[in-house]
Amino acid sequence: MSARPGTTRRGFGVIAHGARAQWRLFTVAVLGSLVYGALTVADAWVLGWATDAVITPAFETDAIDAADLVAVSALFLAVAIGRALGIIGRRLVGGVVYFRLMAQHRRAVTRQYLRLPMRWHQAHPTGQLLSNANADVEAAWAVMMPLPMAVGVLVMLLVAVIAMLTADLVLTVVGLVIFPLLFAINVAYQRVLSPRVTLAQQLRAEVSDVAHESFDAAMVVKALGRESEETARFETQAHRLREANIAAGRVRSVFDPVLEALPVAGVLLVVLVGVQRVVSGAADTGDVVQVAFLFTVISFPVRALGWVLGELPRTVVGWDRVRAVLDAEGSTPYGDARLAGRGPVRLELRDVGFGYVPDRPVLRGIDLEVDSGRTIALVGRTGAGKSTLCSLLVRLVDPDHGTVLVDGVDARTLEHAVLADTVALVPQHTFLFDDTVRGNVCLGADLLDEEVWAALRTAQADRFVARLPRQLDAPLGERGVTLSGGQRQRLALARAVVHRPRLLVLDDATSAVDPEVEAAVLAGLRRASASGGPTTLVVAYRKATIALADEVLFLEGGRIVDRGPHDELVVRSTAYRDIVDAYDQARGPVEHDEVPA
């Protein structure tokens, strides 16, 4: 684990940060632990004192002093009650500190996710971001759980040494040999174990990955009869995990018994030395009993120190990952401009250029004017820049140069809510929230049932929603797992049209629906635009979709290479004709003539 120097120091830095962030509760937890530690030692002291002051005299004189007995039991009980309070402070409040720190940082991390621009999101894998908010936050703060106990143990050790000193100097020396040894072995234990546990954890994730992928591929595996090969692949991973677990298990098997035996050996040593001391009159029986008892009660808590030190490398790694998110710079600044008027907007792009990485432009010199209420189809091969152009319009990305104007206003100066209300994008890949149909369509806006149903109708989603058990209030499950791809797309469409956007951008938004349904959706949109519907930009493959447009923009290599009505483009541009016809030949009906016009 921490072959890297400074891990321990940095780990303590993280701890200090956490302790400061929750300093009130942290103090309570440490106090609880101190009380617990001190009283654990006090227990031994009470037993020692009882032996000398009450038990031995009573046995020697064969007489009971009731007051003494009451005092002893009161002491035992007081110590026990105090210790119980200490446990509550240490365990409960200590836990609360840990849970609060996790919650606090999860909130901070997700706030960053919401603030940071799309470009940042695109540069970071989804899995990593999810783990930043979950596993990494947990890793960073897991150390806070045993921490109060460890602080208590330190105090406990101090008090124990003092208690021993008051009992007998020579016996204390025995303790001073055993305790540091115990501590050293604990630290060595954690250092040896930690990398093995980390490896096992990593292999566990790999086993899970293989299972996930293989079960996703179940159909292909069956169809090609590759069950045995898949099982062999999984077995290799499972065996690696098994070996790693056994390796970690061997380390535990060696250290655990040693750590248990050491305090026992200490007690034997104390008795051996103690007997000499009692014989020589330097100590009495109570001292020996007290020191021996101390060994018994302290041996286990001392491990908390090892836990904390063993946890530090994980703390540092987790915190570094969380920090990377919290420190990330960048945001999408919005202006405060509003738009006057109602109805479809006019869209204008002036010399717009954009690239995700420098010197590799995806869009070049896009000049475009779309009059209000018009429908434009974007046609081009994969990678021509169609999706990027769409995402510029809702400001998922901003152009490197040039301007996007909505009704003559620079989109960057618009208020965020105004832009979102004006322009609706239906992306290629649908994302649904773990919410109801209504929640997914309205996205928190308070709309009438009729409005929601109308939007569902336009998107051809009304029929299947009507068949759901609770209709608009039917929960969809995590990312809409209960729905088919086509149904999900239709809900995304409803989400876009429900707010009556003034510019609608469809980025291949009907790819997963049946052609018949797509036709119905498009017809619905067209009816809407006839009655003052939005200005529409649609990425199109199917001729049916293209037929909807007043004008076609043909994109190649990030430029608009041609534009005009479909009929003209088909005649004028070979490249355009190739694309549109290639698609229709492969997919749809070929002979238009077959159908009477």
Partner: protein, 615 residues
């Protein structure tokens, strides 16, 4: 399920993996051990070592008692030699018990890891043997967790909580026996102090299990909501719903926090109560001990030994509820894995006793075939059809018409409820999988790609194929130009689920795989998703190459496929209603003509609303 009987009449659990919640804990443990024989290997020796290792705990109290009574507090001079001998004996016992603990743990780790690793692999294999229907209805995550976290839970329990459980019981027994030998009265006093806790154990464990269950669910909810600003980032931004999303995320985080605190409160209370009981017991021991001692029934050493012995009880009682909670979780996990293994694989491999497909081109005969899902009505009725060698057949029909069921019966992804499917003259149920999957290959709608290179993915169709063979097959399908355009050729990484490739390219890979498998009978489920026009062309070319010279059955979603077929089978409402070449069917005024018209109408907008838009 044996091959001779009518499938579908047997077990009721064929469409889902049972949760197995109805079997008792002991039954689960017995089944669990029976399923993993490696777990039982040397278990007697391991248990014997565990018993030996618990004796170590009694050493200190006994030594203290002996030393005080026979040495320090005894009459006259201290017998130092006796003390020395005693300590030496104790040291030997400590070394022995430590060694026993070490040996026990190593044996346990090795046995449990071996047993559970085997179980993991067995369960994994079983998931692939499950019926297609079950695979599709189960959530992926649920299946994955059965071969991962469920088994981890069992292994953690066996290695930690389970050991702790055994050792704790041993420790409590040893402590009680030693106490009883010293004084039954004091033993009684101690136990009376702990009794309320022991009695409350069941109730507290129940609450703790429930509390941890709530924590786990809240974590699931939280992760799902945290995914929204990550996976759905563009939606959140485009709709300006940052505030709403943040509120949802905060709510889920807070709920998770509250659940954690609730569970932690129970843990803290349990620990505190056990500590309190310990203090009470110590006080009672001293008071009652002195009272009895003065009566002459006890020695000082015994009373003090009791104080040590009480501390042996505190630990196990403190941990008992947590250990029992973990035990419940582990048993529940084990049960889920067992339930998975007991879910029948309805389609079974006849193996060596079967009849291999004949070594000639394959024809297909459906002889009065019907199909029903378990406990359901027939969804396919009386299908009688013969497909001659080398024919190119398209199967059409609306969603739910039975066309996909037909294809699945043909590839034996399912068995018919009645009737027989014969390929090459052999009942499919008698064909060994090794022969069947080599000669009859299905290309599913979604050609799943593994996170590996293009070459690795192609080799899935023909394991061990050389690079040259792969490239030859690629060019053979007319994909040479596409292939040479790839940055790293066969070494091109396709990414998770093939996401580095376009949807159409993934379909291409699926076709190439099937071509490499070189089957005699090819069953295709056409993809419906729209792809890039250029790739569409490639797909058409590749498909043509693939079908050439083979008997093929295609579940068609495109009209061009039906038009190009030698014969079209039309399904409607679970019945084969029409068959014949495209031209003949289109001329009839039947189901096919109607489907065809609807397809055609789709290409031209403004021809009126399409009839009954199917889901």
């Amino acid at each position: 399920m044996s091959t001779g009987t009518a499938p579908g009449t047997g077990n009721r659990q064929t469409t889902s993996v049972a949760s197995g919640e109805d079997s008792g804990a002991w039954q689960t443990l017995r089944r669990g051990f029976a399923l993993s024989p490696a777990l039982r290997q040397g278990i007697r020796g391991t248990l014997a070592l565990a018993v030996v290792s618990t004796v170590g705990g009694a050493v200190v109290p006994v030594v203290v008692q002996q030393t005080i009574d026979d040495g320090l507090a005894g009459p006259g001079a201290v017998d130092q030699l006796a003390v020395g001998r005693l300590l030496l004996a104790a040291a030997v016992v400590v070394v022995l018990t430590s060694w026993a603990a070490y040996a026990m743990k190593v044996r346990l780790f090795v046995a449990s890891e071996n047993g559970l690793s085997d179980l993991r692999v067995k369960a994994f294999r079983h998931v692939h043997d499950l019926p297609v229907l079950t695979q599709n209805t189960e959530r992926r995550g649920a299946l994955v967790s059965r071969v991962t976290s469920d088994i981890d839970q069992v292994s953690l329990f066996l290695q930690y909580a389970g050991v702790f459980f055994v050792v704790s019981i041993g420790q409590v027994v040893v402590a009680t026996v030693v106490m009883a030998v010293y004084s039954w009265e004091l033993t009684l006093v101690v136990w009376v102090c702990f009794l309320p806790l022991v009695l409350a154990l069941r109730a507290v464990t129940g609450r703790m299990t429930a509390a941890y269950g709530r924590v786990r669910r809240s974590v699931g909810d939280m992760l799902s909501v945290i995914a929204e600003p990550v996976v759905g980032a563009s939606v959140v931004k485009a709709h300006a719903i940052e505030a709403r999303t943040q509120a949802r995320v905060d709510r889920a985080i807070d709920a998770n926090y509250r659940r954690q605190v609730e569970a932690q409160r129970l843990v803290a209370m349990t620990f505190a109560s056990a500590g309190l009981a310990g203090g009470l017991a110590s006080a009672a021991v001293v008071v009652v001990g002195v009272w009895l001692g003065v009566g002459g029934q006890l020695s000082i050493g015994t009373v003090i030994a009791f104080a040590f012995l009480v501390s042996l009880l505190v630990g196990p009682v403190q941990m008992a509820t947590q250990v029992l909670t973990e035990a419940q979780n582990a048993v529940a996990s084990w049960r889920r894995v067992i339930a998975l293994l007991e879910t029948p694989a309805d389609v079974s491999d006849p193996g060596l006793s079967g009849t291999a497909l004949p070594d000639r081109p394959l024809d297909v005969v459906f002889d009065d075939v019907g199909f029903a899902y378990p406990d359901g009505p027939l969804v396919l009725h009386h299908v009688d059809v013969a497909i001659a060698v080398g024919r190119r057949v398209a199967v059409v029909g609306e969603t739910g018409s039975g066309k996909t069921t037909f294809a699945k019966l043909l590839t034996r992804l399912m068995d018919p409820a009645r009737g027989v499917v014969r390929v090459g003259g052999v009942d499919l149920r008698e064909v060994p999988f090794s022969s069947l999957r080599r000669r009859v290959v299905m290309v599913p709608q979604e050609g799943f790609l593994f996170d590996a290179t293009l070459g690795d993915n192609l080799r899935y169709g023909r394991p061990g194929a050389s690079d040259d063979e792969l490239v030859a097959a690629l060019f053979g399908l007319g994909l040479g130009e596409w292939f040479t355009g790839l940055p790293d050729g066969l070494g091109t990484e396709v990414g998770q689920r093939g996401e580095q490739l376009s949807a159409g390219e993934r379909q291409l890979v699926a076709l190439m795989r099937a071509a490499l498998a070189d089957p005699d009978l090819l069953v295709l489920d056409e993809a419906t998703s729209a792809v890039d026009p250029r790739t569409e062309m490639l797909l058409a070319v590749a498909l043509d190459g693939l079908l050439r010279g083979r008997t093929s059955v295609t579940v068609a979603h495109r009209m061009s496929t039906a038009e190009a077929a030698d014969e079209v089978l039309v399904f409607d409402d679970g019945r084969l209603v029409e068959r014949g070449p495209h031209a003949a069917l289109v001329a009839q005024d039947g189901v096919y003509a109607r489907l065809h018209a609807s397809w055609v109408a789709q290409s031209r907008l403004g021809q009126g609303e399409p009839a009954a838009a199917a889901q």
